[in-house]
């Protein structure tokens, strides 16, 4: 019997606000422990939470970009449980009435399109952070993160492979980054994903028992953990076993999932409306205003790139994955209006340098103006394409103007007929045997000569002119050796 996987995904996206959800403490990552805390976010008696308007705006923007219905009348609820990273003994969240509902996100996997339904997205506050290293008998707690705004985004169980989950997560992350709603950093925990997965006999309409997966902090781990879990569950079911509803942790070292010690009575959260917070009424005008402020989103932009710039779909999807990179590309095309050439350089030379250093296009030392100028130099024949490729890393490292660099290094292409003629004649003199071969009809030898002339010129000869010159000389001059 063959089995199929049914997967749903919960994402916790940290909203990009300057301050926490209910107090004015900053949300900056990586500061000294417990230096971003106040009576509200560490749960001092008598303190009162006040809602951050920007967080609500970002949640609405994200909801609109995900085609959700925005709830007009909102309440916050308390989710009660005890854990050392939860200072108040409850988390302020939304329960039966999330701010965003019934949305969708389109994904493409291996050319196959699919619409993933978004069940809900709600606002809640993050917990603190527990650290387990060090002294074996104790754990340490840092509340800097406690109270940071999160948008929890939950899909319907519409996904059926690790690749689809990967595509969904990337598409979601790209959208949130475009909206400036989340920085999408999985390693730092600002974009956390918890898939739930079950398997069932292929074609069946019943759902199997699902397992939740945690501790997945990279796209690679998502795919690995899901592939492992599909294989594990399939094996259990195929041998007549039973899947237990549980939470499993991905162990990246051993590349397996392991059962997480279940919290006792973990699912009795006793939600009730938080009496410290007033209802949030969202007006149609506010929604309209935010809808109009939405940027062009990745999918729409990719479509436009294919249509307006005649780019292949692959190029368009790579270039629009980040807003930065798409902006960079468009700025460059405005100055050097050959989209495919710009695309090749951005996806090739530029991304290679940027990715190697983990730098966004926005902070590239080679500006769009600078890249356009380099391409212009090639186009005008001032330098060869080969030289342009060769000096790109140096251009990137130095941040110099391409014209200046080309001059300094004496790389200007040789197009002077007299100089080229000398080079060509010299090469022909050195290789009489090949000259004879050519003249006996072996025209493939031309490539050899071009190579030799280019070498003799230190790569600076204009290849077009060299070609032309060689053909003429080889055809017309009297045989040298015979």
């Amino acid at each position: 019997m063959t089995y199929e996987a049914v997967i749903g995904v919960e994402v916790h996206a940290q909203l990009r606000t300057a301050t926490k959800l209910f107090c004015g403490c900053t949300t900056t990552f990586g500061l000294a422990p417990n230096t971003q805390c106040c009576p509200v976010c560490i749960g001092m008696p008598g303190s009162l939470p006040v809602l951050n308007k920007r967080a609500v705006e970002l949640a609405i923007r994200a909801g609109l970009a995900l085609n959700c219905t925005i709830r007009l009348s909102n309440r916050f609820a308390r989710k009660n449980y005890f854990y050392p990273d939860l200072p108040k003994g409850y988390q302020i969240s939304q329960y039966e009435a999330p701010i965003c509902e019934s949305g969708s996100l389109d994904i493409t996997t291996n050319g196959h399109a699919k619409t993933v339904r978004i069940r809900r997205a709600h606002l809640e506050e993050d917990a603190g952070k527990n650290l387990h290293e060090g002294d074996a008998a104790t754990s340490r707690v840092d509340f800097n993160r406690a109270g940071t705004p999160l948008l929890e985004i939950v899909t319907e169980p519409d996904l059926s492979s690790p690749e689809e989950v990967d595509a969904y997560l990337r598409a979601l992350r790209d959208i949130l980054k475009y909206l400036d709603a989340c920085d999408g950093n999985m390693e730092q925990g600002s974009f956390r994903c918890e898939p739930n997965i079950s398997v069932r006999p292929a074609g069946s309409s019943d759902l199997g028992t699902k397992v939740e997966l945690k501790n997945i902090n990279s796209f690679r781990f998502v795919k690995q953990a899901l592939a492992y879990e599909i294989a594990r569950q399939t094996k259990v079911l195929a041998s007549g076993g039973v899947i237990h509803q549980e939470t499993r942790l991905w162990d990246p070292e051993r590349e397996v999932t392991v059962v997480m010690r279940s919290k006792e009575e973990a699912h009795d959260y006793r939600y009730f409306p938080d009496p410290d917070l007033l209802p949030v009424e969202i007006s149609q005008e506010w929604i309209q205003e935010l809808r109009q402020s939405l940027p062009e989103l990745p999918a729409a932009r990719a479509k436009r790139f294919v249509h307006d710039y005649r780019l292949p779909e692959y190029d368009a999807s790579v270039l629009t994955a980040s807003k930065d990179l798409a902006d960079y590309f468009e700025a460059c095309v405005r100055l050097f209006p050959n989209p495919k050439i710009v695309s090749n350089w951005v996806m090739g030379e530029l991304l290679r340098e940027l990715n190697a250093r983990g730098i966004p296009a926005q902070r590239s030392p080679v500006s769009p103006e600078c890249l356009a100028k380099l391409l212009q130099l090639v186009d005008e024949g001032t330098i060869s394409l080969k030289i342009a490729r060769e000096i790109f890393p140096e251009l990137y490292a130095s941040g110099k103007d391409p014209e200046t660099l080309v001059h300094e290094k004496g790389l200007t292409q040789i197009s002077d007929a007299q100089v080229l003629e000398q080079l060509v004649e010299e090469v022909m003199r050195q290789h009489p045997a090949q000259v004879d071969q050519y003249r006996r009809g072996k025209e493939a030898v031309l490539g050899f000569f071009v190579g030799q002339v280019m070498k003799a010129s230190g790569g600076k000869a204009n290849p077009g002119k060299v070609n032309e010159l060689l053909r003429r000389k080889l055809a017309s001059d009297t045989p040298s050796g015979s």
Partner: protein
């Protein structure tokens, strides 16, 4: 409506309360009284009356996204039973088996 001793024990566990046998019996009785009062309230017709989640007839108390000073770390950890290097220190949290 009466509440059972098992339910009282469950709630005590959720609230991390260690109750003696006498206390369990006492709370069983008291909570049952409260619930019977709820039964009485339930007889009031409330069809079409929205749920009350707040008694203040206001909405939308927002704050602008502007940082305000946090507490000095010494003040944050002042009440911690134990602290090291600015961290709260708690008994080991077991997340793995």
């Amino acid at each position: 409506m009466a509440i059972t001793q098992a339910e009282v024990e469950h709630m005590a566990r959720l609230a991390r309360l260690d109750l003696s046998e006498q206390e369990k019996a006492l709370f069983c009785e008291q909570l049952s009284h409260i619930l019977s009062y709820m039964d009485q309230l339930r007889q009031v017709p409330t069809d079409g009356v929205p749920h009350t989640s707040t008694v203040i007839e206001q909405s939308n108390a927002f704050r602008d996204d502007i940082p305000t000073p946090s507490l000095p770390v010494q003040a944050v950890i002042a009440n911690a039973p134990e602290a090291v290097d600015g961290f709260f220190v708690v008994p080991k949290i077991l997340e793995n088996p």
